[in-house]
């Protein structure tokens, strides 16, 4: 390009601008440097000035190049974080979030670490729990993985999807032993992982095998003396931790690496928390939907029962109206028949009356038995609903006496297999009998699952009963009116006994009386027997 060997194709614009040509090309040109040398040797008074200016220009140019390179790397990092952020923010699938997070840390197109472990807080069990890991366990495996990645040439998102689809379970299984040992109780605040988590700041552990402040236990477990601990914090809430290292390449982890991964960890923490909340929300939603469906079914059952009960009442009423006159007719006919001689010509007629009356009574019995069968007896019922309905029915009684029966529905109770009507009667009777003759008192009622049954416990803390009185409580009329009518509890016991439902009355040493009804949650053959039969 012209006479200058440094002006190449694409530099044509420089031919038109002498100033730019000098600054961009000539200053670095060997010929220009020779000219400067000769100029200095000529002893010209301006030579030292020109040389000083040239040196300063060269230094500034070098600084600018370095800054441009730094800016380029930061731009790439921002783009990378933006890409990951978009992926993480759009996902509510926990497995997807974890796959993206761990792939981003370990992929060459990401932070390029060799290995990463993800630990998640299990609040119910009070643990920081090893959940997932990614990376090789040997040099051979590492080489194999890098070959595979270079062959496929996937972007980060592709790598994350591939990891989730093909490797998530196998990686989890591969690191199962380490993940298990990385599980630590949150209460163990002296443990390196927990103290770092509580400190909420990332920690770069170096020279772990010889650092007196670091227990070698974790270094032995990871097999490296340099690793990075990154607490995952979302809005001041601890979510988990990422542990990452370069166990294969042993590349140094710089302060800058740590800060870059820390920025990324905020996104991960937020995404994990959101995905976990979404998952819980889904569970709650499906539980609420299921409860709604059950409620609908039970409401339909109640409506059906009411309709059946109405049919039963009408049938019974008609049958009763016919039954008594028929019984009188049949009864007197039998009476007359007894005193009518065998030879009496009218005996045949009387026998016909007796026979027809008997026949009609049989028909009526059949109708009445059918109407009885329309009433369902035992079924699966929601105990919370039963207790709430029972309290509603005696609300007036409680208001009149200024008494309160506290009850809070218990979540996750299974259905109880009971005769709703009879158990509801017992609950009402227990409350009413306890409060009979008293005012301004407080009872508490709760239902809780224990073993195979649901314990309905009614506690009366204000009453004081001796152990001797307890037996009397369940004996009809054996006690005074201050303990209720004297009949209710005995009836409750009988009714519950007939359904094989344990009923326990106890006077705890601290005072008060507790009534416990243990409702079955399963249909058993012994329960198929009709109550009262």
């Amino acid at each position: 390009m012209g006479d200058c060997p440094n002006i190449l194709e694409g530099d044509e614009a420089l031919l038109a601008s002498r100033q730019r040509r000098i600054l961009e090309k000539c200053c670095d040109c060997a010929s220009f440097k020779d000219d400067l040398r000769r100029f200095r040797e000529s002893g010209h008074p301006l030579a030292p000035v020109i040389l000083t200016l040239h040196g300063a220009h060269q230094r500034q140019k070098s600084q600018i190049d370095s800054l441009v390179s730094f800016l380029d790397s930061k731009t790439l990092e921002v783009r990378f974080l933006h890409e990951l952020g978009s992926t993480l923010q759009s996902s509510v699938d926990l497995e997807e979030v974890l796959s993206v997070a761990l792939t981003a840390i370990t992929a060459g197109k990401g932070f390029g670490m060799n290995r990463a472990f993800l630990l998640i807080i299990n609040r119910e069990q009070g643990l920081l729990q090893g959940h997932l890991a990614i990376g090789p366990r040997s040099y051979e495996e590492a080489n194999q993985t890098w070959d595979e990645i270079s062959r496929n040439d996937m972007d980060l998102q592709g790598l994350a999807q591939n990891f989730r689809a093909n490797k998530l379970d196998s990686e989890r299984a591969k690191f199962h032993d380490i993940l298990e040992q990385l599980t630590v109780p949150l209460s163990n605040s002296d443990h390196l992982l927990i103290s770092t988590l509580n400190g909420t700041q990332p920690l770069l552990v170096e020279n772990a095998f010889h650092n007196p402040d670091i227990s070698t236990e974790i270094a032995n477990l990871l097999g490296v003396d340099t690793f990075l601990l990154l607490p995952l914090i979302s809005r001041k809430r601890r979510v988990g931790m990422i542990i990452t290292d370069n166990c294969i390449t042993h590349r140094r982890i710089s302060e800058e690496d740590m800060r870059s991964i820390e920025n990324f960890s905020f996104l991960v923490a937020f995404a994990i928390e959101r995905a976990s909340l979404y998952e819980r929300l889904q569970v709650e939603l499906s539980r609420a939907t299921e409860a709604g469906n059950k409620l609908k079914e039970q409401q339909e059952l109640i409506v059906r029962m009411e309709k059946m009960a109405l049919v039963g009442r009408i049938t019974s009423s008609i049958a009763h109206s016919i039954h008594n006159p028929l019984m009188v007719i049949g009864g007197f006919a039998r009476s007359i028949l007894k005193s009518t001689p065998e030879a009496d010509p009218k005996r045949g007629f009387i026998e016909s009356i007796v026979g027809e009356a008997r026949h009609l009574e049989d028909v009526l019995d059949e109708i009445l038995n059918y109407s009885d069968s329309l009433y369902p007896t035992r079924d699966f019922w929601d105990v919370n609903q039963l207790l709430e309905a029972s309290l509603r029915e005696i609300q007036e009684f409680l208001l009149e006496r200024d008494c309160i029966c506290q009850f809070e529905p218990q979540e996750e109770l299974p259905l109880a297999y009971i005769d709703f009507k009879q158990v509801a009667y017992c609950v009402r009777t227990l409350v009413m009998d306890s409060l009979e003759g008293r005012s301004g008192e407080l009872l508490s009622m709760r239902a809780l699952r224990q073993g195979d049954g649901i314990h309905v416990v009614i506690t009366d803390r204000a009453r004081s009963v001796t152990p001797e009185d307890l037996d009397a409580l369940l004996t009809p009329f054996a006690i005074t009116h201050t303990m209720g009518s004297g009949l209710g509890l005995a009836l409750c016991r009988t009714m519950l006994e007939k359904q094989d439902i344990p009923f326990i009355v106890a006077a705890p040493p601290g005072g008060g009386v507790t009534f416990t009804i243990i409702l079955p949650t399963e249909k058993e053959s012994s329960h198929e027997q009709a109550p009262g039969s």
Binding site: S335, E361, D372, Q422, L487
Partner: protein, 126 residues
């Protein structure tokens, strides 16, 4: 001779029961409602009460509860046109339960059974 009190709101049924039970050798007194029954119970002792559950506007179960509370030594046999009262827990307080029928054999057998049980209880001092 055992004395029985028959409580039923229907006159024909009272007559039928009186006739039939008298034939069986019982001394039978009748009452049409709970007030009359209580009055007669206060006048003389009875060995057993045969009680109808549906008494016009009254409920025989209420009388049953009163009798169990105040005269628990005196057995009561409930009579009803409905078999469904068998499942009514209040009816379980009675010593016997009979579904009314023109054939009084079952009622007679139940009376004999309950009276025999009462005598046996008295013998062992319960």
């Amino acid at each position: 001779m055992s004395r029985l009190l028959v409580v039923d709101d229907e006159a024909n049924i009272r007559i039928l029961y009186s006739e039939e039970l008298a034939d069986e050798g019982y001394e039978v007194v009748t009452a049409a409602n709970t007030a009359e029954a209580i009055e007669k119970l206060q006048q003389t002792p009875f060995d057993l009460v045969v009680l109808d559950i549906k008494l016009k506007n009254e409920n025989g179960i209420e009388l049953l509860q009163k009798l169990v509370r105040e005269r628990h030594e005196m057995p009561v046999i409930l009579c009803s046109a409905f078999s469904c009262y068998k499942d009514d827990f209040s009816a379980w307080l009675a010593d016997g339960y009979i579904v009314k029928s023109g054939d009084l054999t079952e009622l007679k057998q139940e009376i004999a059974r309950v009276l025999a049980k009462k005598i046996q209880k008295a013998k062992i001092g319960l």
